[in-house]
Symmetry: C2
Subunit: 413 residues, 2 copies
């Protein structure tokens, strides 16, 4: 596997574009994107588990049911959530507009939205500008860049990657882009239900069932292990489109070597973007990786790690580079799973080195200056060992800063 | 029922005192308190459900088992949590020191601690200064004030109340004090397992069983409905001591009018203090009351309300007085309970008036200027109606501010 450029336009046969249509009234930023395949695709998606589902989620869940989707239309600046029948109609109009310029059926379109909740979506702006969007469709990195810019809200960094793998003598490519900065604690379910949005393209030949299995595995180990603020959005969504243009022998079973290779590659790109989402959390100055080894089971390890990564007190301590490790144990204690606090060890780690702060549940003498250095780095890791049998898992979060409060104290202006 | 002065020294036969013994090395504030009854008491307590329990919690759980406790010794500045066998020994020494000056058995003492986790408690400072503490014991409001000051950490406001009720021709008094500002999301269980600390005294004559029942009801409807930052402490604790000095006919059954009156009074004082804890949340500028009416059941209503009060995004919006009501519905959506978003109405309310922002799950036109006025008040309420059958319940939280980040970015210095 090697990293390549081109993002979601790296796989053969995919086009993308992005424009400004005016949904963000006070901004000159792009706000409407489209991604599509020249030919039919197999597709898989996962959506938010929030009981309040945006209109786009409802429409997309319906359209993805048959595994046949070849385009995604996305607006930023408005979530089209809590907007009633009018919102549902608007989401359908978005699908129809995209279908119109691509000469496909609206049921082949996934619709995604991100932005403020509860404000009617000015879908007329999308309809009015859809031909401009069509004119901007490109199959190169510029198409990818324009689409990526158009899906961003409070995002500061661009989150994308593409890789190339070999399958049956053919070169297969996977590209993925994501947006997400606040209201991030994705908890997505298979083909059912972040405002984390992620869109992946691949020219692999793969069946819907195999693609769904790959996606579920990848999301479980990536986006569902990210938290910025503990708020699971009404709009979270990940979609992967596979158009088969690589002409590899079709991946049609989980019991094949090709499946393993493709699945590992999809997991790699999703984990890479999940880390980027955490690092770009609203106001964040640091990426925090929480790794738990030796829990009772993987599920327990994940619950413990997510509890630590979600703790406002741990997050604020990381912002201040304060080795207040007691907050780590405290957060594990209310995770709702059993573990033996007396067997816990905690190590803070970064490029600056590592410092053990807790052994067998109690403090060990440590160099405060060194700990401060370790925690002052931009990427820090909290390593927790519980001496049990489960494998080591990692989750990703960020620090809690003044800027998070600033950004969210007046989000709508 | 009427409010009276005197706090925990208002009930007859109770003494209290507080001094500085040096546990907070960089501060001149008091850090050691004692509360005791001149005569034996029946007692009930509830402790944190965190799997990581401070040494004081472990010792106190043991001592309260027989329902006979007549003193509470409390230090601030150090949680004595994650401190191993040494910490357990230190907690026992605290009980012994208190017992020594009061000439009672150490098993009649409850021990409470609050402060940084994972640092060995310098119990020698407590032992060295215990006679000074004895000399400061008083049965008047000054004893109450000194003890209250000594249990505070990042608290800015003093949280206390006392009331008087009539039972069987006798005047019965209840006094309570609490500390708690950060790491506040109490989840306490009966006689088992908040760093929310609350201490109540009463001169009522009441059996242990009746006292426990009263306390469980009161805590369920008060402290367990408060959140500042979602972090459930390793040290949360509430203790009530009843010495019978009021000479009322003993309350020995839940099926009596006297029980009802006493229980309602205890609930009132606990709810009053729970609101004070939320208002005094670290960095808070506002008390936020979230009220849910018409859920499927009380448990669902509580889960929905706590999810809204815990949401960083809702809290930041309240800080900014931004009527971003979509975040309210979003937080309800991930509360993990069923409800019909399409039937939800949301109203923002304060002294400045009320503004409906959502009806039947969708936006209603509202005056943004008025909404800003309503949300700019120091006490605001988010009223949610789901049109179901359950009773109306309220929970309490606070806004998320720059100062929360500041306080917790460098708590240990």
């Amino acid at each position: 596997m090697k990293e390549i450029t081109g993002g979601i336009c790296a796989p053969r046969g995919f086009l993308a574009g992005g424009i400004r249509c005016g949904i963000k009234p006070t901004s000159q930023k792009k706000d409407l994107a489209i991604i599509c395949s020249l030919t039919p695709c197999t597709a898989a998606a996962m959506f938010t588990t929030n009981k309040v589902k945006a209109a786009c989620v409802q429409v997309s869940q319906e359209n993805i049911k048959d595994g046949k989707v070849r385009a995604v239309i996305v607006n930023s600046g408005n979530a089209n959530a809590c907007t009633g029948p009018q919102g549902l109609a608007a989401a359908k109009k978005m699908a129809e507009a995209a279908a119109g310029i691509l000469q496909i059926d609206p049921s082949e379109v996934v619709v995604a939205s991100t932005g403020v909740i509860g404000v009617p979506l000015p879908v007329n702006l999308i309809e009015k500008n859809i031909d401009t969007l069509k004119a901007e469709l490109r199959d190169d990195v510029l198409g990818h860049e324009a689409a990526l810019e158009a899906i961003m809200t409070t995002d500061i960094r661009k989150k994308e990657i593409a890789v190339e793998i070999e399958l049956g003598g053919k070169t297969v490519r996977i590209g993925v882009m994501a947006k997400g900065s606040g209201m991030i604690h994705p908890n997505m379910e298979a083909a059912k239900q972040a405002t984390m949005l992620a869109f992946a393209t691949t020219d692999a030949a793969i069946t819907v069932d195999a693609l769904e299995a790959c996606l579920q595995n990848a999301v479980k180990k990536s986006f569902n292990r990210v938290t910025v603020d503990g708020d699971t959005s009404t709009n979270d969504m990940i979609v992967v489109l596979a158009n088969g243009k690589a002409e590899n022998p079709i991946i049609n079973s989980e019991q094949t070597a090709a499946y393993e290779v493709f699945s590992a590659a999809l997991e790699f790109v999703c984990v890479t973007l999940a880390r980027m989402v955490a690092r770009d959390g609203e106001g964040a100055t640091k990426l925090i990786t929480v790794t738990v080894a030796g829990a009772d089971c993987e599920q327990a390890a994940e619950a413990l790690a997510m509890s630590v990564a979600s703790s406002s007190l741990v997050k604020a301590a990381c912002f201040g580079a304060d080795a207040n490790w007691g907050r780590v144990l405290c957060a594990m204690g209310y995770a709702g799973v059993d573990f033996f606090p007396d067997e816990a060890s905690v190590v803070f780690k970064s490029r600056a080195g590592l410092v053990q702060v807790c052994k067998d549940g109690v403090t060990v003498p440590f160099d405060e200056k060194k700990a401060k250095e370790v925690l002052s780095e931009e990427e820090i890791e909290i390593l927790i060992d519980l001496k049990g049998t489960s494998a080591c898992i990692s989750v990703w979060g960020c620090d809690l800063t003044y800027d998070y409060v600033k950004i969210n104290g007046d989000y709508r202006s």
